[in-house]
Symmetry: C2
Subunit: 373 residues, 2 copies
């Protein structure tokens, strides 16, 4: 059976079951139509049901019409930024561009420090500033994007977090996240900090605003607790738009993670990408060329095909042709991998160029509160 | 049996038993002599064993000789400042004057908000700024006294608190403070914030300094945990100098608290003081004047006498005479109370005058970190 928590995703995921268990909603055609009206053309991640579930998305879009919406997403700085992060953030950027709203981007350095036994505070800080370069390179609008760093912005975040914490018992944290008495007290407290960006903009703007959080579905438990508590503090429940997991290179189970080698980092060189895809990317093809030509491959389990579907081939017609050719045996595994390698390297070459420029932009992105010492 | 926790002190306290149970040391004559060498004349609270216990006080004094010591005390803003607070802080001021060291004064607004179900964040903030006036009026040196406010200074305190929290399990908090799973996660986390002023000055001064904490013995559990953890973070264990409890007006059991009416607030008027002492102060005298003249009173349980001993009659000879006269029946309860009322009102008149001046001094006392936004 699959395991899905904010810190662990393992096994074959049954998304319909997750929808039932988590109590989220499927994104329906009327919602897709509403988004299309705003965007002109929907992001392929919506059409392909990669972003497939939500909470209160209709409500968020209604508030958006009144100019009352902001976006919130985040990054836990614990390693290299990989394609799994890029997927959520590229979609978030699309949403920001379409909705023309502020995005609050939280860096949960406290979380990663508290949950990773082997990482020092200094290491997490270094990773965080490095991760920021990737976020910035993805092209967010600096005028509408505000970085919140849990530790650095604690003077505005901690006073709000304790208001959440006062309504959050140790037992609800235990049952929601499976923590126990041998876990550290920072892990117990952390969810209160994660809740803050869902209502801080309402305090700053001095009006009750709706919050929409694009995230992978494993983060839902955090926001389930947040949704229980925020109305008691006088704020709206945050809405969310949730995606499935970009799988690791090794196969369609679980999610990409920066432990081990089975991921593509946004800092990988063209050679690394080529090597990793050729070495690790699970193939849905047949053992021999002859057999492949005869029986064809299985795109549903083929990682190269899946990455094209998730991220690198936005054109539905082109994707359909690749699928057909692969299934028929016309397209070989090596050829399919080559298509993906070229797509990834084209993206990373551009990305890494922007990444070099990003260092001098960090300061523009970091939120500057007023009236605090 | 007496109950002594950081949030509850009830019953008749056996201080020798507390010393054994808490594992603290008695303040010995050689330590008193060492302090006398520094001060010229020891504070009567030391000679009278009101400050009676310590942890690592010799070590702290040794570090002081090397210019390596600071003081740390605090205030949990939950109600009026009363004589119980004044006792600890007057002694702290004496120590600051004698040792000529910096004092870090923590305002634990987070603690009081998290632990007091019925208090709003705003109420706690108002109480805190009001409490600051009393602290300032007690005469601390503004150049050497730094107010740290847990919420307002969270940008420098929270990043340090999570380093403590990472080494503090939920189970150690439960066993130390008797918290349970139905308590809120802020209560679990809070001890990590309380630990920070014990090492923050070492970070600010960029050298490993010793910390001495004057406090009432009920706060010892907080610092016991702090002492376990700080060496693992590269700091000294904080030393402490601990006092017994100023009793409530109603009798020598428990400690003065600002709930109910059985306390003297530093903002009480002369009339209120007179009324409270006459109405509530438990008397060690006899039911009738005739009987009192014959049998005499018991100063050990007489609150008016005890307050003179704890705070208001520093002159040992005068105190001894009062004791003798009260025991012999020469001094009546009403007369003894009158002595105390006059002493308290003389102190409060002066205090309240300084309190009016204090408002414009708050800013001088609040610590101003650099390099944070």
């Amino acid at each position: 059976m699959a395991k899905v928590t904010p810190w662990d995703v393992e096994g074959k995921i049954d998304y319909d079951r997750l929808i039932r268990e988590f109590g989220v909603q499927k994104i329906t055609d009327p919602i897709l139509a509403q988004l299309k009206k705003l965007s002109g053309e929907n992001n392929f991640m919506l059409d392909r049901k990669i972003f497939f579930a939500h909470r209160d998305l209709e409500f968020a879009l209604k508030e958006h019409e009144k100019g009352n919406l902001f976006l919130y997403t985040g990054c836990g700085p614990s390693g290299s930024i990989h394609l799994g992060h890029a997927m959520v953030w590229k979609f978030t950027k699309w949403l920001q561009d379409v909705l023309k709203v502020d995005l609050w981007f939280q860096f949960t350095d406290d979380e990663k420090f508290l949950f990773k036994k082997d990482k020092s505070f200094k290491e997490i800080q270094e990773l965080m500033y490095d991760n920021m370069l990737d976020v910035i390179a993805l092209g967010f609008n600096p005028k509408k994007t505000h970085f919140l760093i849990d530790t650095k912005h604690a003077s505005i975040m901690y006073p709000e977090a304790i208001k959440v914490a006062k309504r959050l018992t140790a037992s609800s944290i235990k049952s929601c996240f499976g923590l126990g008495d041998s876990d550290n007290v920072g892990m117990f407290f952390y969810t209160a900090m994660q809740a803050v960006p869902a209502f801080l903009p309402s305090i700053i703007k001095k009006k009750k605003m709706a919050c929409l959080i694009p995230h992978a579905i494993d983060q839902d438990p955090h926001f389930r607790l947040t949704r229980d508590i925020l109305p008691k503090l006088g704020f709206f429940k945050p809405a969310s738009i949730q995606c499935s997991f970009l799988p690791p290179l090794t196969g369609v189970e679980g999610k990409m993670s920066s432990s081990g080698e089975a991921f593509i980092a946004l800092t990988d060189t063209p050679e690394q990408v080529k090597k990793k895809i050729n070495k690790y990317a699970f193939s849905g093809g047949q053992p021999t060329i002859e057999e492949h030509r005869k029986k064809g491959g299985n795109p549903d389990v083929d990682i190269a095909f899946q990455y094209l579907r998730f991220l690198f081939e936005p054109d539905d017609k082109k994707l359909a042709k690749i699928k057909k050719d692969y299934k028929s045996g016309k397209l070989l595994t090596g050829e399919l991998k080559q298509i993906l390698i070229e797509k990834i390297n084209a993206f990373l070459t551009q990305h890494q160029k922007k990444r070099l420029e990003a260092k001098k932009k960090i300061d523009q992105f970091i939120f500057k509160p007023t009236g605090h010492f």
